[in-house]
Structures are given as C-alpha cells and as structure tokens.
C-alpha cells in the first residue's frame, strides 16, 4: 500500500503533461476544424495573431489563475482587479498629470496590493481562498465604481500613440479581397503575453518556488514535512497572481484605450475555464503552464468559429458550455483510466514508454 502511494505521487507530473497534451491536441483540432470549414479566414496569419492581439489580457489572467490553482488555491478577484486597474489608469492618464511610466507603476501597484492582501489572508490566516478573493472581487468593483462610473476614453497623445503602436511583419502578411497585400500586425500586448508565458513556464518548471508550489498544491502536509515553507509559498503565489492581474489590466487598456466599468467582466470565470481546459486541476498540484494559454486559445477559437458561422450569441455560450463539459469529462475519464489496463490497450504501444519515462 505504501509503495503504491509513492508511485502514484511520482506520476503526478506526468498527469500534467498528459492533460497538457490533450489541451494542445484539442486546440489544434479546433483550429484545423476552423481551417476546414472557413478556410480563407482561419488560414490567415492575422486571424491567428488577432487571438493574441485582442485577448492578451485574458491569456495573462489564465496564466495567473493557473499558478494559483496549481498551489491548491483559487482567485476569483482577478477579473475585477483588472477592471479596477484599467479604470484607475484611465483616470490617471486623463488627469493631465499622468505619464505612461506612472500608469504602469500604478497598474503593478494595484495588482500587487491585492495580491499581498489576499495572499496574507489566505496563507497566513488560513481563510478559505474562495471567500477572500470573493471579497477582493467586491472590493475591486466597489473601488472602481467609486473612482469613476462612466466610460473614459484616454485621449492623452503619448498613450494613444502607444495604443496604435503595432509591430509590422511584412513577410507574413495576407492578401485581402481587393487583392491588396496587408502586412501582419502584432500589438505590444502579444509580445507581453509571449514573454510572460516563457518567463512563467521557466519559473514554474525550473525554479525553487515553482517546484515548491507544485508540492504545496499536491499535498501541503507532506510539503511541510519536506521542509517547504508552505505559507510563504502560497503567499508568493497569490502575490504573483495579483501582479499578473495588474499587468493584464495595463495590457487591457493598451488594447482598448478606454476605462469602463464593464471591462474584463466575467474574465475570472473564463480564466478558470481556460486553466481547466489547459489541464490544471482545481485540487492543486497538477497543471502545466504551457497548457493554460492553449486552454484560453481553445475557448477563443470556439468563439471565433461560432462567430464565423454566424450563430447568435446565445448559442455561442451554449456551445462554450458544452465543450467545457466535454473537456471536463474527457479529462476525468482519462485520468481515471490511467494506470488501469484499459487505457494501455487503447493506446498504441509506442506511446506508452514516452509517457512513462517522463
């Protein structure tokens, strides 16, 4: 019995990789389906990069949520914190004394402040993370409406310049209907997403903090016995999550150029869904940060597909939910069958040693 347990624990990491593989495969499948049904749209590089361009904030939030979830916690405040950041940045930039550097500092400051508060309460006072981050969500939305209630368009010249700034890649363009060549445009948000994804994947896979966080999320008592500072690790994970929410807020306002009460509403649920599709388990300890952007992208691709098919928005959310359902069931079935003989029979032989050795 004892030996079986240890073997199971060692397999946890491969669970992450397995779930990641499912997420990536599903994304490729969805995108391939898009190419098959709406070839001309989905084959354009611009369509692919627009997924990043327009949804950079959501992808960053998905990464943030995955980190917290791997640590066995949850954060549902990130959407409203992002909204608060966009609103305060907008007010700050419009006040006449604002500068872009100041706005970035403000964004990071708000994010870290929320991270510190929630992290302290969750990690050191051991309050249930759901309730605390729920309070954080109320706090952020209350502060946001207190700061300003109406939408603000930022008209500060420097910022407008930043918003319109795009990196043009001439050799990857597309030809539009009028046979004119349009070069590919990448927004700064996309660069931020890619850099953050690389940094965070390295952090989670090869740094002491990252490995500790996996251990804490998997089983905090055994992590404690291994000499890991459980409280501090969990605290840092929440601070990191807050910081990322701040960054996401700045990226959001960089994309839309306006502060609005409705900004980023519902993003916390989308981020959680994206993390789950990307292979992160809410129970903690299992997850792969490479998978999270794939999860978010899968959700976005589905939306894009449905929009391209011209179905109304009610069916869009129904389709979203159905796919979420399918993924969740699929993940659980795969995780369950793993280790039993039936899955081994189902997979071709050459797949098995690869998943075993890792």
């Amino acid at each position: 019995m004892e030996s079986m347990n240890t073997i199971k624990r060692r397999e946890r990491v491969t669970d992450s990789n397995l779930l990641f593989a499912i997420a990536a495969a599903i994304f490729v499948l969805m995108y391939g389906f898009g190419i098959l049904t709406h070839g001309h749209d989905f084959l354009q590089a611009q369509t692919f990069f627009d997924l990043f361009n327009l949804n950079a904030a959501l992808i960053i939030l998905t990464l943030a949520e995955s980190i917290v979830m791997i640590g066995g916690s949850i954060d549902i405040s990130i959407g409203q914190v992002t909204a608060l950041v966009t609103m305060s940045c907008a007010v700050f930039l419009q006040s006449g004394e604002g500068s872009i550097g100041g706005a970035i500092l403000l964004a990071l400051g708000i994010g870290i402040a929320f991270g510190l508060l929630q992290g302290f309460l969750v990690a050191y006072l051991k309050i249930q993370p759901f309730i605390i981050t729920l309070a954080g969500m109320f706090l952020a939305s209350g502060l946001m409406t207190t700061i300003h209630e109406d939408p603000i368009n930022v008209t500060m010249p420097d910022f407008v310049h930043l918003t319109n700034f795009q990196i043009v890649i001439p050799w990857l363009g597309t030809i539009n209907r009028n046979r004119r060549f349009i070069p590919l445009e990448i927004m700064p948000g996309t660069i931020v997403v890619l850099v953050l994804a690389v940094v965070l994947v390295i952090l989670m896979n090869w740094s002491r903090f990252g490995r500790n966080l996996y251990a804490v999320g998997g089983n905090n008592e055994s992590a404690l016995m291994l000499g890991i500072n459980v409280k501090r690790t969990r605290f840092y994970s929440h601070v990191l999550c807050g910081l990322l929410a701040g960054i996401a807020g700045f990226v959001f306002i960089m994309t839309t150029g306006a502060g609005n009460v409705g900004n980023a509403s519902g993003f916390e649920i989308k981020a959680i869904a994206g993390s789950i599709i990307g292979g992160t388990l809410l129970s903690g300890g299992v997850g792969n940060l490479v998978g999270s952007p794939f999860g978010a992208l899968t959700l976005l691709t589905i939306n894009e597909l449905i929009r391209a098919a011209g179905i109304n928005s009610d069916f869009q959310s129904i389709a979203n939910g159905m796919l979420l359902c399918i993924f969740i069931v699929l993940q659980n079935v795969v995780l369950r069958l793993r280790g039993t003989e039936s899955l081994k029979l189902g997979l071709p032989g050459w797949l098995l040693p690869a998943s075993r050795s890792r």
Binding site: I127, L134, F138, I272, I328
Partner: protein, 368 residues
C-alpha cells in the same frame, strides 16, 4: 458537552455580527424596529429584511447541504433558478389562463427542471468525480442563454393578480407571501433533516468519503441527492424571485446570488471544505447579508461604494473567524483563565503547577 460548546461557538459569530449590525442601525435611528401597515400587510425594516432575503435563505439551505457532502460549492444556483423560473413562466404563459392550479402545475414542472439541473451537476460530481465548482461552471456559463431561449424574447411579463399576490401580499394576510413561503420551506427542511439520516450521512461523506463508504453509505447517492435538493431549492427561489419581480429578466434575475449564498454558508460558521454543518448558521448568515446590504443603504453609503464596504466587512468578519486568529484568541483566553484560576482556586485547578511554585510566591505576584 464538548459538542454543545462547539455548536454554540459556531453560531456565536453570525449572531454577534447580526447584533452589531442592528446596534449600528439603532444608533442611526431609533425607529429601526417600527412597523407600519400598508394595504393590510406589514412593512418596515424587519419585514423588509425577511422579504428581501427569502431567495437567499432558501438557496443557502441547499448550498449548505452541497457544501457539506461534496466539500465544495455550487456556482450555478442563481443561473439554475433563472432557468427554472423561465420554465415556470413558459408553462404558465402557454397554459393560457393563470389560476391557482396552473401556477401549481407550473411550479411543479419548474421543480422537475431544477431536479434535472441538479442531477446533471450531481452526476458530474458524484459519478465522474469532477470538482463541484468546475462541474457547475458548465451550467453557470450556459444557463442564462438557455433561459433566454426558453423565454423566446426579452423579459416576458407575468401580468396576473395571482402571481402578484404570491410575490407580494395576499389581501387579508398581514405577512407578505414570500416570507410565509420561506418559513414553510425552512420548516420542511428542518423536518427533513430531523426525521431522516440525511444530515448524518452527508456529514459522513463530507468528512471522509472512503470511511463513509466502508460504513455502508453510498457517497454517490448522497452527493446526487444533495445536488437534487439544491435543484429544488433553486426552483423555489426562482419561483419567488420571478413572482416578486413580475417579469422574467433572464439576464439580471438573481444575478451574483451564488456568491452571496456561499458567503452565507461561510458566515454561518460552516467549513467550505465539507463535513459538519449547521443549517441554522447558514440561515442566520443569509439574513445577516441582507441586513448588511440594507444597513449600508440606510447609512447613506454611496451606491457605487457599497461593494467596497461589503468587501471590507466580509474581510474583517473572516479574519475574526479565521483559524489563526481563533487560536490566538483561544490562547489569550486560556492565559487569562489561568491567571484567574490561580487567584481563585490554586490547589484544585492547577495542582501540579502549584506544588512546584511556592504559594507565597504566587500571592506576591498577584499583588504586583
């Protein structure tokens, strides 16, 4: 004895919070408890609280059961109530005339819809072992769109005297109907929990599923049952909400109430990780939230800032109730008790300790 004590301390927190809020209200104006009679029904602060909190109370009862047995929460309650009330309105509208019988039939159909939603969630949680928050996320994302499709248009209106009477007051009855329905529901829930083994079983499943299984309890069945009861609760709450509003707004009906319901469970002193629970605590928690909302309105807090104040209040409350602070406070009271104990009854209370330290020494300390 020990059990009584822990139960008492569980209810201590929500009750004291309620008391503090009422005191704040009384300081604001002494007429807080005043009740007026308009059109034969009671109005005033207390009736308004009971009236406003009725859906929340009903949902928090179901949420407590789900939390206890599944060890996690149901995010879809508000959305489920929206769907069931859409079904209710749909049956009522397509039945033609609105009579007591059609209302009853429509209500029963909506209960069935609630049970269907509950068993969908429950099947995912119980048989597939999906975490409840994730499983209910599906209905949460889909629900409002489904409700809209059932409605077929934007907010169908219930223009009937009977539904108005259910949502507000029946002539001749001084207490408004949703309050009566809530009381009936609470009584039914209490009877269910007192006469059956449901409470014991769901606690057993929540504390240790494997142990419960070894003792002959089927965890799958208990969890499924809890989610089905949750579905019925959602149906009743949706019924009350839609008759109160008089129209079915699939986008805004009971929006964000799932958060309040979870909060009610937590304020009631229940663990959100499952196990032992107190329905009384949850009910008091639900009323506390309503009192808090109305208090903030009464204190003329600007509407934009209400959420922030609520958040600060929740954080303070959870900090007071947190294990770390409790432990700290427990140590503090033990320390005080030990000091007092030494002063009062040295030989019996801390006999061994006293034998080590000479008596004269203690009395000297006491005087200093």
């Amino acid at each position: 004895m020990a059990r009584m004590k822990s139960r008492g301390s569980q209810l201590f927190l929500p009750l004291s919070v309620l008391a503090i809020l009422i005191v704040i209200n009384l300081i604001k104006g002494a007429d807080y408890f005043s009740i007026s009679i308009i059109n034969g029904a009671l109005y005033g602060n207390i009736p308004n609280i009971l009236y406003g909190a009725s859906e929340l109370v009903i949902l928090s009862i179901g949420m407590t059961l789900v939390t206890s047995s599944a060890g996690s929460q149901d995010l879809s309650v508000g959305v489920a109530a929206t769907i069931t009330s859409a079904v209710f309105v749909w049956v009522l509208v397509s039945a033609g005339g609105i009579t007591w019988w059609t209302i009853l039939a429509a209500f029963l159909v909506s209960c069935v819809a609630g049970i269907v939603i509950g068993s969908f969630n429950g099947a995912l949680v119980a048989t597939l072992n999906v975490q409840p928050i994730v499983a209910t996320l599906i209905v949460f994302t889909v629900g409002r769109s489904i409700a809209f499709l059932i409605d077929g248009k934007l907010s169908p209106i219930l223009s009937s005297n009977l539904t108005y009477q259910i949502g507000n007051a029946i002539p001749g009855v001084p207490v408004r109907t949703p309050i009566i329905l809530t009381v009936i529901f609470i009584v039914l829930a209490a009877v269910l929990l007192k006469t059956t083994n449901l409470k014991l079983y769901s606690q057993a499943v929540g504390i240790n599923q494997k142990a419960a299984r070894l003792n002959g309890i089927n965890p799958v069945r208990i969890k499924l049952l809890a989610f089905m009861i949750m579905g019925v609760c959602a149906a009743v709450a949706g019924f009350i909400a839609v008759t109160k509003a008089g129209r079915h707004d699939s986008y805004n009906l009971l929006r964000n109430i799932e958060m309040d319901a979870i909060l009610a469970v937590a304020i009631g002193g229940n663990s959100l990780y499952g196990g032992k629970f107190s329905i009384t605590g949850s009910i008091i928690g639900a009323y506390t939230i309503e009192v808090l909302d109305l208090t903030l309105l009464r204190l003329d807090v600007p509407t934009q800032a209400i959420n922030a104040f609520k958040a600060v209040f929740i954080i303070i409350l959870m900090v007071i109730a947190s294990p770390a602070v409790r432990e700290f406070a427990g140590n503090g009271t033990n320390w005080v008790r030990a000091r007092l104990g030494r002063a009062d009854q040295i030989p019996t209370a801390i006999g061994e300790d006293a034998s080590v330290v000479p008596k004269s020494d203690i009395s000297a300390k006491k005087e200093v």
